[in-house]
């Protein structure tokens, strides 16, 4: 999809609803590099009609390991968010189609898009009638109210960031147990409406209502993380069993009747099972042999050439709105020195990082926080040899001069990476590079299960870490405000997503200004986000490496592959018959 078209989706209109309505008219795009995939999305972005000839069968998925709790208001992993698309619904949903149209928010459990009043601070939804949970209970406004309160009682990971603008959220964040939102989320059972009141207008709020943490579950659901016990949902599938050491099995929800094909289409397979415990190598082999239909994990680097050559028709490559980057702890020597941070930005060879990730067909070097094609992104590159709008080459001489000028040469630098092949090899490259720059670099590979929380906690005194960020929803603030604002930095906490500890009052004021502008003028706001991006890069708290592409490897029997830019492959729309 051309970069400008993405902007059309996200910048047109003066308010969120207008923005969303406009998005519906943007062109569809399968999002896959491989032309053999069968996208069933029309060019207008509308989902294709259900083809009952392909209904039935069991879809076999494989993953290296389970992704923890099955609670949709707690789990924050792509692995289960993909599956939740067919299991749970919110008031709104991202359109379940392939291509750019998948960024469009549409009514789901709500009859229509909300009525926005009170200067953008009040959203009124009318619930659809006749929808039942997978336990047979009818959906009511009480369930909606209880679900929003539950977001806080279970301390959902995004309770303090996505939903803190709901009236009464402050008190619930301080005291989650027994949270009530009598003025924030108000249900009217007789009218079948739910009104959500915000403390301030938030044009991104519809996006936040369309992610799994805003799923509606029955009133009376456990006030704690449900863990391995599946909660009833309204989607086309329900979890029949879940053992994190073995498998997750989804079966059809007997009470499901399709109400909106673009929000919650009925699925094709009768059952979907995801088996855990194989190595990624074995997963790939299983798909090659037709023993599994899809590999959740990224195929290992040394199998890419094989699957891209011998099994090309089964491979789907899709660009992602994501960023792999290095965080430089601005509160820890040597990177509390601006010149030392800039030196790393000048020295890192983004092409090398791309090679280690799998080559130029799987990643694109970047210079900015906002990925190419993302709202607010501008082609600028402060740290490339010879200057220019895009990255060309590192400038090691300049980097060495900056290290010398910073007086930090000879200091010890620990590099914390995940222990998988790609992360570890990138870490080794960085260790070699830092040694060349004159630092005493050590590499600390940690299990993927703990690395992300470890690097967030300031107590661990992480100086440099390799990590990645994949968008929650298509807005510039989801990168810049989330990753680099003062509000995202919580010293001593495992949930301090501002890993660099960057808190610059001037930049923060710029972000607040952009957020305020979003309420009235998205185009102007995105221009401001672009300026924030450049201001951040001048301070160099992180080193953007590349924006990755996703490789989906499916079995020969799988058809109707569709790639949603929001939640990736639409699992329940795959054909196995």
């Amino acid at each position: 999809m051309p970069r400008s078209a993405t902007r059309t989706v996200l910048v047109t209109g003066t308010a969120a609803l207008a923005l969303l309505a406009t998005a519906c008219s943007s062109s569809g795009d399968g999002g896959t590099a491989n032309s053999t995939s069968t996208a069933s999305t029309s060019t207008s972005g509308a989902p294709a009609a259900f083809q009952s000839a392909h209904k039935g069968g069991t879809l076999h998925l494989v993953a290296k390991s389970a992704a923890g709790s099955l609670d949709p208001q707690v789990n924050y992993t792509l692995q289960y968010w993909q599956l939740y698309q067919g299991m749970y619904d919110g008031l709104l949903a991202f359109k379940k189609v392939g291509g750019q149209a998948s960024f469009t928010v549409v009514p789901d459990l709500a009859e229509s898009m909300p009525k926005v009043t009170n200067d953008g601070k009040t959203y009124t939804f009318t619930l659809r009638k006749g929808i039942k949970f997978s336990n047979g209970k009818a959906l009511t406004t009480d369930d909606v109210v209880a679900s929003f309160e539950r977001v806080f009682t279970v301390s959902s990971p995004t309770a303090g960031s996505f939903y803190n603008g709901i009236v009464g959220a402050d008190a619930c964040l301080k005291k989650p147990a027994g949270c009530t939102l009598p003025k924030g989320v108000v249900g009217d059972a007789a009218a079948g409406t739910v009104t959500i009141n915000l403390t301030a207008a938030d044009p991104e709020f519809p996006y936040k209502l369309a992610v799994p943490h805003a799923s509606i579950v029955p009133k009376g659901s456990t006030a704690k993380d449900a863990g391995t016990t599946p909660l009833p949902g309204t989607g086309a599938y329900k979890a029949a069993s879940y053992d994190p050491n073995k498998a997750l099995k989804l079966v059809r929800n007997p009470y499901f009747k399709e109400w909106s094909r673009e929000a919650q289409p009925q699925g094709y397979p009768d059952e979907i099972d995801e088996t855990f415990g194989l190595t990624v190598e074995a997963e790939v082999t299983a798909v090659e042999n037709g023993q599994a239909d899809w590999v959740f994990d990224a195929p290992p680097a040394d199998r890419l050439n094989e699957i891209g050559t011998k099994y090309a028709s089964q491979v789907h490559v899709s660009p992602l709105t994501a960023m792999w980057y290095l965080t430089l702890n601005v509160n820890q020597a040597p990177f509390n020195n601006l010149k030392a941070r800039q030196a790393i930005n000048w020295a890192v060879d983004r092409s090398a990082a791309v090679r280690l990730y799998g080559g130029t067909n799987l990643a694109q070097p970047v210079c900015t926080v906002l990925p190419p094609g993302f709202p607010g992104h501008t082609d600028t590159c402060d740290y490339t040899k010879g200057g220019g709008a895009t990255w060309k080459a590192p400038d090691l001489a300049k980097a060495k001069a900056l290290v010398k000028a910073s007086g930090t040469a000879g200091q010890e630098v620990g590099i914390v990476v995940q222990d998988d092949e790609v992360n570890k090899s990138t870490g080794e490259y960085l260790q070699s590079l830092l040694t060349q720059l004159g630092y005493k670099a050590t590499l600390k590979p940690l299990s993927a299960n703990i690395q992300f929380t470890y690097i967030q906690n300031t107590k661990n005194k992480v100086q440099l870490a390799l990590t990645s960020w994949y968008q929650d929803y298509p807005a510039a603030s989801d990168f810049l405000n989330v990753l680099l604002s003062c509000g995202s930095f919580h010293a001593g906490s495992d949930s301090s997503i501002n890993i660099a500890g960057f808190c610059d009052k001037t930049v923060d004021a710029q972000m607040q200004d952009a957020l305020t502008t979003e309420r009235t003028d998205m185009t102007a706001a995105n221009t401001k986000w672009g300026a924030v991006d450049q201001a951040v890069m001048a301070k160099s708290p992180l080193v953007p490496l590349f924006t990755p592409k996703l490789v989906d490897f499916t079995s020969t029997r799988v058809g109707n592959y569709q790639f949603s830019k929001q939640f990736y492959m639409i699992v329940d729309q795959l054909w196995v018959k």
Binding site: A33, N34, E281, P300, A301, D302, R303, L304, N305, E306, I307, G308, T309, K310, A312, V315, V317, D349, S351, A352, R355, L356, G358, G359, T360, N361, L362, D419, E421, S425, E428, Y429, Q431, S432, L433, T435, Q436, T442, L443, P445, V551
Partner: protein
């Protein structure tokens, strides 16, 4: 009485060869042991020449990533990490063996580093750690075994129980636990300081975990010696303990200790490789044969040589040291063969 004169046809008996010379002679006649020693010497010599190969022939730095580097194959300049050009063009594969000593003789690893140069440098570390830890282990075990066996009583009880406790732990589990702690914090014992990541960390750990395996048989041997007539006679004649130790006990135990050295070197080298493979031994950017196997793990499908080459070297070197160890045992303690082994 007539004068006694030496008969010109009778020569004085030649002085018999000493036990060490006899042993060396016997070892020299042991062809398998000599072949193993030759092979081991060859490996050691090759590894010692690592800088010569890296700097003088391959012109490469085996510890620096060359992800964007190029090399020459058949007169053409090619990237060391070659992007796929077939099918969907996914993946990047390190260059394979070129069999040209000047240009990636055994190919490159995923960092674009010369595998041959890293094998030679890695061999230096593997052999160094194996040999030094074996020597330290045998020395410590000899001291503990001799003291415990000779002194007996409470001292023997204390030393033996401590060795029992160490013995009770599975070797690899204990080594991994110690490695994780020491690689994070380093080691500080009085004036002795070992940096985290230093080669002395695996040396100290491997030497320590195998001490009971050597000390216990030595202690048993000393207990047996302690009750031999000539030692009882020496003690009875009032010889000081140090003299008895120096003149009687140590010379009798020393052959056993020497037999242990090559065998423990092989065992320790294998342990080092296992720890390094698990990332708790030699730390990057240093290399050992174990770390190179780990590097090659992600290239098993495309460049198996990166894993096979160090694996073969470990296997062959360990086999050579074991054959040599058997030869040394046969030479120094012929009775052991009849008894079925040293231990």
């Amino acid at each position: 009485m007539g004068e006694v004169t030496a008969r010109p046809d009778v020569r004085p008996a030649a002085r018999p060869a000493g036990p060490w010379r006899t042993a060396m002679g016997q070892l020299a006649r042991n062809r398998p042991a000599m072949a193993a020693a030759g092979f081991f010497a060859l490996i050691v010599a090759a590894c010692l020449c690592a800088p010569l190969y890296a700097n003088g022939i391959a012109h490469t730095d085996p510890f620096r990533s060359a992800v964007s580097g190029t090399t020459v194959v058949g007169g053409r300049t090619v990237p060391v990490l070659t992007p796929s050009t077939t099918g969907l063009g996914l993946g990047v594969t390190p260059i394979g063996p070129t069999w040209d000593p000047a240009h990636y003789f055994l190919g490159a690893d995923n960092q674009g580093r010369d595998v041959m140069a890293r094998l030679l440098y890695g061999g230096r570390n593997s052999l160094f750690i194996g040999l030094i830890s074996a020597v330290l282990c045998c020395l410590a075990a000899a001291v503990l075994g001799i003291v415990a066996g000779y002194a007996g009583g409470w001292l023997d009880a204390v030393i033996s129980r401590v060795l029992d406790v160490v013995w009770a732990f599975p070797v690899y589990l204990l080594a991994i636990c110690l490695s994780v702690v020491l690689l994070t914090n380093g080691l500080r014992l009085g004036p002795l300081t070992v940096r985290p990541g230093s080669l002395w960390v695996p040396i100290a750990i491997i030497a320590a975990v195998y001490v009971p395996y050597v000390a216990r048989p030595l202690r048993g041997q000393v207990i047996a010696l302690r009750n031999r007539e000539y030692i009882l006679a020496a003690i009875g004649s009032g010889a000081p303990v140090t003299r008895v130790m120096h003149r009687e006990v140590v010379p009798n135990v020393l052959p056993t200790v020497l037999v242990f050295v090559p065998l423990m070197t092989a065992l320790n080298m294998l342990t080092e490789s296992a720890l390094s493979f698990l990332s708790v031994g030699v730390q990057a950017p240093d290399a050992s044969w174990g770390t190179i196997i780990n590097d090659g793990l992600g290239l098993l499908y495309t460049r198996p040589a990166v894993t096979i080459a160090p694996g073969l070297l470990i296997a062959l070197t360990a086999a050579a040291l074991n054959v040599l160890g058997d030869g040394v045992r046969d030479a120094l303690d012929p009775g052991a063969r009849l008894r079925g082994g040293v231990v």
